[in-house]
């Protein structure tokens, strides 16, 4: 089931498009309700419907993980396959584990969420659109590290190779980002609050 929320349905609007995917219709509806004042919201209650609704107009997708038939992880992989320029936040009840390290999402949010949280997430992900790919990746890696660190014990983290690799990757990316900013005659500080809020 795909539907464009009624408020925005008259014509193609210039508002940014957010795709909400959750197999629980009430949840998808509520997300749409919370976001519809600022965004054009499309909802989908299955993986297949999500892929149908996703196109170049969508700038942010909020993706449930645990769905029957096609999981959110599979939807994510399919979206990336199609090379759509969509920022994806997994919004899920599932505890993050090391399996998220290789997943190409931008942010991991644990349910339950409220309207304010959703607004913050979407705003952050939209800001990210302004930066180049290396900053994108730095953001993604930083998010994953924070997600894992919040969930897993220090011992589990210390023992995990993927986590260690992720940390190394972050160090490399941070250096590269600093160097790029230096070259541009600015610094991460000078980029201001907006950038700082990202990390």
């Amino acid at each position: 089931m795909t539907e464009t929320h009624p408020d925005q349905s008259e014509m193609r609007s210039t508002e940014p498009v957010v795709l909400v995917v959750d197999d629980e219709p009430r949840v998808a509806e509520a997300f749409a309700l919370w976001l519809e004042d600022d965004y054009e919201v499309r909802t989908a209650t299955s993986g297949a419907a999500a892929l149908e609704a996703a196109d170049d107009d969508v700038s942010v997708a909020l993706l449930d993980r645990q769905m029957p038939t096609m999981t959110g992880d599979e939807v994510l992989a399919a979206l990336r396959e199609r090379a759509l320029d969509i920022r994806v936040a997994m919004v899920t009840g599932i505890d993050p584990d090391f399996d998220i390290v290789e997943m190409p999402f931008d942010e991991y949010i644990q349910k339950p969420v409220d309207g304010d949280t959703l607004h913050d997430v979407v705003a952050r992900l939209r800001t990210l659109n302004q930066y180049d790919d290396s900053i994108d990746e730095l953001y993604r890696v930083t998010q994953k590290l924070a997600t894992l660190e919040a969930q897993l014990s220090e011992r589990a983290l210390a023992d995990n190779d993927e986590y260690q690799r992720l940390r190394e990757r972050k160090a490399t990316l941070s250096e590269a980002a600093d160097a790029a900013l230096d070259a541009a005659g600015t610094s991460t500080d000078a980029l201001g609050d907006e950038f700082a809020r990202l990390f």
Partner: protein, 506 residues
């Protein structure tokens, strides 16, 4: 009555004896330690009879020779330096009391000696004497003890009984020196001792090592919690698994409730005090290691369970909580129907909490068990868990089981609930006895749609469900209750194509 003491006569006799120089000569001559006296030039001037036993020389062969004769060559220079230094300055470079140094035996090998040096002047002649005791055996024993100490460390790192067993039989062979060694563990379910590790020689002798029970040396040791020794020639009354087998000597050391360490030889060997002590030490360390491994495994299991519960609370409650929050938002926005869904979300959370509590409170434990007729427990459970339009059919030959009645009822309630949830309100559930080769237990079958493509191995996992309304814990609870009673459970397809759960109680 007092024991007879030395008489006044013998006292007088001893007094006379100590006045006799011959007594002291005899004492020195025949003492068990080797005594060698040298002069300033390190030439041996006296050697007692003990030098033959300790060093292999006749006293006469040594007298007139240099002390270096009985010293390994690498010590020669240091010896002369030390003597010169002492004669010049009076400084001792070594402690003279019970110093441990090797000596050189007449046949060329080195022997571990404990040497005490004495200096005295006799008739104006300065003499140095060494009193030497052969400590090879003590040294070897100490080295063995040290090796056993090292193996203890390894044992404590081992995580499984199999790994512990491998280290232990290795130590019995390499350190204590018994070629045939095996570790037997008690199999609580069947009440016999089963081999978990055996040395190469043991494997060669017993390709298919037997489980041991009453009538074996190992069982005897296990049952009495006391070490037992068998020797083929010694006595016929010691229980032994196979009196005509290849073992000449066997030593069984109990490992508490865990099992038995069995060492032995096909050659004639004696278990002297040293050897027994070493075996007992190894056995004590093995027992400690097994206890630790058991504790660790239990701790790990509990940790995993705890993590699962944490995950249940955080994961399985998050989804209905999200739904609740969503429905409230929608209701506020004017959608009153959303409130119906709110009730459903709350019910689901309620059911989850009840299941998680059942698992957390009881886990894999049972209370008092008593003979319980399966038929009546099943009927009771059906009254709460069955559906009005569904029917229960119980076989007339259902067994009476030794069980915790409350927990058995919970088991049935969950199986029935599962049948109704998946087989529909008009499902027919059959409870029957296991018969024939499979006897000992019962089954619960339904005429629903069965498991389809579902991997039945996953069914009992915490939180596994194919039903959006299910909590995914019902079958975990069933499995935990079965396990707690020492039963096993499996899931197959019933005769009518529905689900069948079989509980084996034997």
């Amino acid at each position: 009555m007092a024991a007879p003491g030395p008489s006044a006569d013998t006292d007088t006799g001893l007094d006379a004896l100590v006045d006799d120089a011959g007594f002291f000569r005899s004492l020195v001559e025949h003492g068990s330690d080797a005594i060698v006296t040298i002069d300033d030039d390190s030439t041996i001037r006296y050697a007692n009879q003990g030098v033959h036993r300790v060093l292999g020389y006749r006293p006469d062969d040594l007298i007139g020779d240099s002390l270096t004769t009985i010293m390994p060559p690498r010590f020669h220079d240091a010896h002369f330096d030390a003597v010169d230094h002492y004669l010049e300055t009076g400084d001792r470079r070594l402690d003279w009391n019970a110093i441990e140094m090797p000596g050189q035996h007449a046949d060329g090998h080195e022997i571990q000696l404990s040497i005490t040096f004495e200096e005295h002047v006799h008739n104006g002649v300065r003499a140095f004497s060494g009193i030497m005791r052969d400590v090879s055996r003590q040294k070897a024993y100490a080295a063995t003890l040290e090796s056993l100490q090292d193996i203890t460390h390894t044992l404590m790192q081992a995580r499984t009984p199999g790994a512990i067993g491998d280290h232990v039989v290795g130590a019995a062979v390499d350190i204590i020196g018994f070629p045939v060694a095996s570790l037997y563990r008690c199999d609580d379910a069947t009440g016999v001792l089963r081999p978990v590790a055996q040395s190469d020689a043991a494997a060669a002798l017993f390709a298919d090592p037997p489980a041991l029970s009453a009538g074996s040396l190992a069982w005897h040791a296990f049952e009495t919690n006391d070490s037992a020794v068998y020797h083929a020639d010694a006595d016929a009354t010691t229980p032994v698994h196979d009196p005509d087998g290849p073992m000449i000597a066997e030593y069984a050391a109990p490992l508490g409730e865990h099992g038995v360490l069995l060492v032995g030889d096909t050659d004639d060997v004696a278990f002297d005090d040293h050897t027994s002590r070493l075996i007992e030490l190894l056995a004590a360390n093995t027992q400690a290691a097994l206890e630790r491994a058991t504790r660790e495994a239990e701790r790990e299991r509990q940790n995993e369970q705890l993590e699962r519960f944490a995950s249940i609370v955080s994961h399985d409650l998050r989804d209905p909580l999200q739904t609740a929050r969503a429905t409230v938002a929608l209701a506020k926005a004017g959608d009153d129907d959303a409130l119906t869904d709110l009730t459903a979300a709350l019910d689901r959370m309620d059911a989850l909490i009840a299941d998680v509590l059942t698992l957390a409170k009881h886990g894999q434990t049972v209370g008092e068990t008593e003979p319980v007729p399966v038929a009546s427990v099943a009927a009771d459970a059906w009254s709460t868990a069955g559906a009005p339009t569904a029917s229960l059919s119980t076989a007339p030959d259902l067994p009476t089981l030794n069980a915790d009645p409350e927990r058995l009822r919970t088991l049935f309630e969950n199986l029935f609930g599962n049948a109704v949830a998946h087989g529909g309100d008009d499902v027919t559930v059959t409870v029957g006895a296991l018969t024939g080769a499979d006897s000992g237990g019962f089954f619960v079958a339904d005429d629903g749609d069965g498991f389809g493509d579902t991997d039945t191995a996953q069914l009992f996992d915490y939180g596994y469900t194919t039903d959006t309304d299910g909590t995914g814990f019902g079958l975990s609870i069933v499995r935990d209750i079965a396990t707690a009673h020492g039963w096993t459970i499996d899931a197959t397809t019933s005769d009518s194509g529905g689900a069948r759960f079989t509980i084996h109680t034997q």
